[in-house]
Every structure is written in structure tokens, then in C-alpha cells.
């Protein structure tokens, strides 16, 4: 594949790996512990496992899989709200595919569909709007989900619905924003992080400036990274280079996609339709101030939370579930009490096991061979 294979070149990978190895040794020796780099975005987690990057890197580097999978951080109560909306008579509930299997307290959307709810998988909010256009006698609800990456397309769809005067369309808004969450993680006392791989697609919208406080205030390097395997290795090398040179900066490795100032048209669409919520509940992380958005009052007629009676109950995460500790990087997925036993991709307890971008599902499916081997050794001892 042209323009893709170039970013998967094994020869370039081995020269990058040599450079990474050379930087790692002295850094690890100085700290007396492994270097911990958090990849914030689930897309990076997916790449790291899909291409087997984790076990190509020297042993002194650990990836901490961050909270950047919007499906994974969705709390159970919100899934229950989705199910309640989907089961409302007359409603067609539309959603991205990988949200279908996220467990609610009683059932997932996939189970609600089997029970008779009209749940349809779409690839874009515009597909959901098209369904509304073709089904004037039904109420079509779109499950808006994701960070700034997907927010502009949802916002523009609402504006399109308004332009066309489509009144049987609404949004169940679960969009979240990454910056407050990174801040919450940095404020967490039990955390030891040396640097970040910044989310590429989010940054394509918001640019690189919103991250500056991480370098300035928290003194950690962050490199906005692309998703191809060479992008990931290159970004790791850039983080290590900053550490070796005692620099803390925001660097942009994904310059072919991410402009420094972001996408102003997309940002305008976001701010026209959405405003910050006072707080939003994250699975495993609890409530984080200003970490979610809702629709502005002007667009209340497109807001499913205004249009329908949404139960909005807060459901505690299952007790045995340690998603929060995994998300903060305090424990590795396989160190969770229920990993691979009570919680598997077939019967996910926590959302990290559901989406292919979730750290637990990635470990389970693609397997960190070294990590799992360590675990088996630990179990045997």
C-alpha cells in the first residue's frame, strides 16, 4: 500500500531501535527503574499490539496505556441510558460499531438489539441523519461518543439537521475532552511517568498548544505521535532524546497531519454546538471536572437528554474490576484480579476488555508475549 508501507519499513525500524536502545541504557541506569511512557490514545495502544512494538523495545521501556479509548472510559450508567433510549418505543438508536458490546449494568446494546430494540450500526453521524431523513415517523437518536476527534463531525451533523429542518433526530452526547483527564492523571499521587505520546487524531483538531502546561508545569515531555509503527518508534525516540538532554517540550512528530493551531473550522463547529459540562463520570477514574461536553441550550431540541426521559443513574463499577488502576498505569492489565478469568472479551466486566483499543482486550487478543510470560512465571512461583 503506497503511503502506508513506507511507515512500516522494518529496516528503518531496526535503525530506530538501535538509537532507542543507546538512549535507554543510561536513562534507566540513572533512575534505577524502567522508563514509563504513557500512550494517551487507544489508537496507539492498538498499533503497539498489532505490530508487536512492545516486545521489540528494550526491556527498560514500559508503555502505560492511557485513558484515550472513549469506548473504554464510558461508565456503566451511560450504557444503561443508551439501552433505555434504544428500548423507547419508536426510537431507532444509532451507534458506532465498537460501542455495541460495552456492558451496562443489565445488558449491552447488542443484547438490547437481540431483545427487539432497533439498534443500528453506523460509520458516521451523517449516516444516522440519513436514517432520520428516511424514517420521518420514527425518532432517530445518535450515540455521540469520542474525544475532539469525533466531536466536529457530530457538531456539523447537528448543524446540518438544523439547516434541513429535520426534527426527528437527536444526539445522546457522551463526548469527552482529553486535557482535563491528562491533568487528573498527572495530579495522581501514585503515578510515575517519564513522558507521553500525545494523541494524534485529537491533536489534528485541537493542535499542540493545549498540551503546553504538561511541559511547563509538570515538567514532562510530550510528543504528538502518528499511528503507524514507525511513527510510534520515532516518537518514543523523541521522548527519550528530550529526557537525555533534560528538556521538557511539546514536540509534534505527526506534522503531516497535525497543525500547531489545530483545525479552526472544526473547533468553530465544536464551540458552536457544545459547551463544557461541570463534570463527567469516567469509568475507573471517577468524576473529572470539565472533562465532558453537552449541547448548548440553543440546540436543546436536538439533545436526547432533553427530548427523552433518560434515567441518568450513576452505577458503580463492579467491585472486582480494576480498570481505574490499569488506566492510571498503576497496574498492568494482567495484574488485575479478574483479567482473563472473570473478565474476558467474551464476558467483559470492565470496558477495557471490550474495545479492541482497550488495554486489556489488546493484551488478551494480541498479547504482550513478554509480559504474559512474566505473569506465568509469577503465578508459578
Amino acid at each position: 500500500m503506497k503511503y502506508v508501507d513506507e511507515f512500516r519499513d522494518p529496516d528503518k525500524a531496526s535503525s530506530l531501535l538501535r538509537a532507542i536502545e543507546a538512549l535507554t541504557k543510561p536513562l534507566v541506569a540513572a533512575r534505577g527503574r524502567p522508563l514509563r511512557i504513557m500512550e494517551v490514545c487507544g489508537g496507539h495502544t492498538h498499533s503497539i499490539f498489532k505490530y508487536g512494538i512492545a516486545n521489540m523495545l528494550p526491556a527498560g521501556i514500559e508503555f502505560i496505556h492511557g485513558p484515550g479509548c472513549p469506548v473504554c472510559v464510558l461508565p456503566m450508567g451511560r450504557v444503561d441510558d443508551c439501552v433505555a433510549l434504544a428500548e423507547t418505543p419508536g426510537v431507532i438508536f444509532t451507534t458506532f460499531g465498537d460501542a455495541m458490546r460495552v456492558p451496562g449494568s443489565k445488558k449491552s446494546l447488542l443484547q438490547a438489539k437481540a431483545d427487539g430494540a432497533d439498534v443500528r450500526m453506523v460509520y458516521s453521524p451523517l449516516d444516522a441523519l440519513a436514517i432520520a431523513r428516511e424514517n420521518k415517523d420514527r425518532e432517530v437518536v445518535f450515540f455521540g461518543l469520542g474525544f475532539e476527534t469525533t466531536m466536529p463531525s457530530t457538531g456539523l451533523t447537528i448543524l446540518q439537521a438544523e439547516t434541513e429542518g429535520i426534527s426527528n433526530f437527536s444526539l445522546f452526547c457522551n463526548h469527552i475532552t482529553i486535557i482535563p483527564t491528562i491533568k487528573a492523571i498527572l495530579d495522581s499521587p501514585d503515578l510515575q511517568l517519564d513522558g507521553f505520546l500525545g494523541p494524534g487524531h485529537v491533536s489534528m483538531v485541537i493542535g499542540t498548544k493545549p498540551y503546553e502546561f504538561i511541559a511547563r508545569h509538570y515538567r514532562r515531555p510530550l510528543v504528538v505521535a502518528g499511528f503507524e509503527p514507525l511513527d510510534v518508534l520515532h516518537s518514543v525516540w523523541l521522548v527519550l532524546k528530550q529526557l537525555a538532554e533534560s528538556r521538557c517540550e511539546i514536540e509534534n512528530q505527526y506534522g503531516r497531519i497535525v497543525p500547531t493551531d489545530g483545525n479552526t473550522a472544526a473547533l468553530a463547529a465544536i464551540s458552536r454546538v457544545f459547551e463544557l459540562r461541570e463534570f463527567f463520570e469516567w469509568r475507573g477514574l471517577g468524576s473529572i471536572d470539565h472533562s465532558g461536553v453537552r449541547m448548548r441550550e440553543t440546540y436543546a431540541r436536538y439533545d436526547a437528554e432533553c427530548k427523552f426521559a433518560v434515567p441518568s443513574l450513576r452505577i458503580a463499577d463492579p467491585k472486582s474490576c480494576q480498570c481505574g488502576e490499569v488506566l492510571k498505569g498503576v497496574i498492568k492489565p494482567w495484574q488485575c484480579k479478574v483479567f482473563g478469568t472473570a473478565c474476558t472479551p467474551q464476558t467483559p466486566l470492565g470496558a477495557l476488555m471490550v474495545s479492541s483499543e482497550g488495554a486489556c482486550a489488546a493484551y488478551y487478543q494480541y498479547g504482550d508475549l513478554e509480559g504474559l510470560r512474566d505473569r506465568h512465571a509469577a503465578d508459578a512461583a
Partner: protein, 360 residues
């Protein structure tokens, strides 16, 4: 030697009388009366026309002696086909229903001989479309050297099924001396596939139209009994063959690893994929290893037979892109590992359900 003699008269006492003069199937065509007979005669009997079928008894009959000429064990299989859309680039539900069952017999080392054809039709389906599908089944059966000898027709209310469901069962005879099984893989064995993977799955997803993607990808739907016969002629020591249908290559490899309690390693570089399929998967966030195939088999052979097997496959038009993709190891039992192009390793596990596209 007992000579094969059909137990029933060769020529039909029946011929198509009125045929069907309405454009669409109605519930009347499933009522057991004259309308149903007209549907069966017009659509199915006229397409499948053969001595075993035409008397339209409640069962087809064959002499045992004839079956015995082909080997020493019977193989019997059944498969249902519910594909949407009914017609897709590279085939249709009729061709799929014949090839699928022929392949299920052939991968067991059997010579496929007789098929049944049961259809469940949703009222409102166009008779012309049915005729076309029945014709496609007949052509595929002729090409594969099998006969459709019995069948059944039901018509259900609108909404009770999606246009047309077809079930085909098949009988074949396993040649003497051939013993294939998923449990027979041993460390050191070599794994091959007969060509490019994922075409069917990608073609079907694209043909549904809701992705708004235009592709040139065609389904690989084909009957593989000829290919398998020449493979077994050249390589009777083959240990296992399975068609990589739903769940794709990844699922079959996991089944082998589990059944034989062995590890499996495959090489991404050697895994044959069309550029279009790679691009299609890249855009949709799908993994081609899990895409369905309808004309691809996974073959396990002892190390000494690998080159011979590859040559035999490549000599056949349906095996020209055959490739050695990996080997059986004494590694962790049940685990399939892929060496990525990029130089890393990853586990290739079974899929839980359907592949769901990622959000971003």
C-alpha cells in the same frame, strides 16, 4: 462388480406444465397445492433436471455399490446460506450454496457426489431472481461434478426471513487411505494456503453498499474439490485441510493449534493478500486474517511434503497463488503467533463475535 443402476426410471413422467406467470412469489406458492408444484417445476426441476431428482419422491435413492466405487467411508455435511445481498461480485447465494457444501466434503478428503437443496423464500421475492439463482446452482453443480438430487421449498410471511435462505446437505465418499484431521498436526509440520485471503468477506461488505466504498474486489467463491483431488494425488500424506470460511485464516489456525495441542507460527510477509483487500481493511479498521473466504483452504503437511504440496497447488488454476505461510511448533499449546512485517510478534487469537469497526 455390481453395476450401477438407477432405481428409478430415467425420464420424467412430469414436465413443466404451466410455469409461473406472476412476477413475485406469494404465500400461495408454499401452500402445497398446484401453485407450489408450478414453482418447483418452473424454478428448480427445470434447472436441476436429472434422473434422481425428477420423479420427485420424498427422498433421492442411490445404490450402495456405486458409492463404494469411490472409497471406503461416507462423508455427510450440511450448511445454510443466508448471505445478504443475494448477488455479489464474483457470485451469488446459489453458487455459494453449492460450492460451500462441496468444499465441506472435499476438505475431509471426500469426493462430493450428491447435494440436497432446501429453500426458504420470503413472500414477495421475484420469480425471475429465483430462476437465476437456481440456474447458478445448477451450473455450479455441473462444474463441480455433483448432482442436486432432492430438495424442499417453503414460503414464509414477509419479514420472517430475509429474501431467501438456502440449505444444502451433501454426501461424498472418502477415498481409501486418506485420513485428515485437525488433531493430526505435529511440531515441524508446514502450513500452506492456496491463494489470496479475505476476498469474499471484503466483497460482501462492499456489496452491501452502506459503507459507500467502491472496490474491484470479487468473492473467491469456488468449488475446490478438483484442487484438493490433485493435491491428495501428489501428497497423500497431507494431515489436515479446512476451508477458511467465517472467521477466516485466524480461526482455522486456532482450531488446529487447539485440536492438536501445538503452537503455530505464521509469517505476515508470506500471507497472501490483495492490495485492495489490505487497503479496504486499513480504512475500516478490520483485520484481513479474520475475513471470510469461500475458495481458500488451509493445509497442514509433514515437512518433507511441503514443496510437493505447494507445486501441486500452484499447478491448478485455483491454487496459483498458493504459499507456505508458517509452521507448527512445540511452543505454547493452542497459541498462534504471527511474525509481523515490521519485525515484531503478536498473538492471533480467536475472534469473540463479529469484527466491529473501530470508532476512530
Amino acid at each position: 462388480m455390481i453395476k450401477f443402476e438407477p432405481t428409478l426410471p430415467i425420464r420424467p413422467q412430469r414436465k413443466v406444465r404451466d410455469g409461473i406467470h406472476v412476477p413475485k412469489v406469494t404465500l400461495a406458492h408454499g401452500g402445497g397445492g398446484k401453485a407450489m408444484r408450478d414453482l418447483i417445476d418452473d424454478v428448480f426441476v427445470s434447472a436441476f433436471d436429472n434422473p434422481a431428482l425428477v420423479p420427485l419422491e420424498d427422498q433421492a435413492r442411490f445404490t450402495l455399490a456405486d458409492l463404494c466405487r469411490h472409497g471406503d467411508r461416507l462423508a455427510f455435511t450440511s450448511d445454510s446460506f443466508v448471505v445478504d445481498p443475494l448477488e455479489f461480485p464474483g457470485g451469488d447465494i446459489g453458487k455459494l450454496a453449492v460450492c460451500g457444501t462441496v468444499n465441506d466434503l472435499a476438505v475431509g478428503g471426500a469426493k462430493p457426489l450428491y447435494l440436497s437443496c432446501s429453500v426458504i423464500i420470503e413472500e414477495g421475492v421475484e420469480v425471475a431472481a429465483l430462476r437465476k439463482i437456481a440456474r447458478s446452482m445448477a451450473d455450479s453443480a455441473t462444474a463441480a461434478g455433483v448432482t442436486i438430487v432432492t430438495g424442499d421449498t417453503k414460503v414464509v410471511d414477509r419479514g420472517s426471513c430475509d429474501k431467501l435462505f438456502i440449505n444444502t446437505a451433501g454426501i461424498g465418499v472418502i477415498r481409501t487411505g486418506i485420513d485428515l484431521g485437525a488433531h493430526r498436526a505435529e511440531a515441524g509440520d508446514i502450513i500452506l494456503v492456496n491463494g489470496l485471503l479475505g476476498d469474499h468477506g471484503a466483497a460482501i461488505l462492499a456489496a452491501r453498499g452502506d459503507l459507500h466504498l467502491e472496490t474491484q474486489i470479487e468473492s473467491d467463491c469456488s468449488a475446490l474439490n478438483g484442487l484438493i483431488e490433485s493435491l491428495l494425488d501428489a501428497c497423500p500424506e497431507v494431515r489436515f485441510i479446512r476451508d477458511a470460511t467465517r472467521g477466516g485464516l485466524a480461526t482455522v489456525l486456532n482450531e488446529i493449534a487447539e485440536a492438536s495441542s501445538v503452537g503455530i507460527e505464521i509469517d505476515e510477509k508470506a500471507t497472501p493478500l490483495r492490495e485492495e483487500v489490505k487497503g479496504f481493511c486499513e480504512i475500516l479498521g478490520l483485520d484481513p486474517l479474520y475475513l471470510a473466504n469461500e475458495g481458500k483452504i488451509v493445509i497442514v503437511v509433514p515437512p518433507g511434503a511441503a514443496e510437493r504440496a505447494r507445486a501441486a497447488l500452484q499447478a491448478h488454476p485455483l491454487g496459483k497463488d498458493a504459499s507456505i505461510i508458517g509452521r507448527v511448533t512445540s511452543g505454547v499449546a493452542g497459541r498462534v503467533v504471527m511474525h509481523t512485517n515490521f519485525g515484531g510478534k503478536r498473538i492471533v487469537d480467536m475472534l469473540v463475535g463479529e469484527q466491529l469497526p473501530r470508532i476512530c
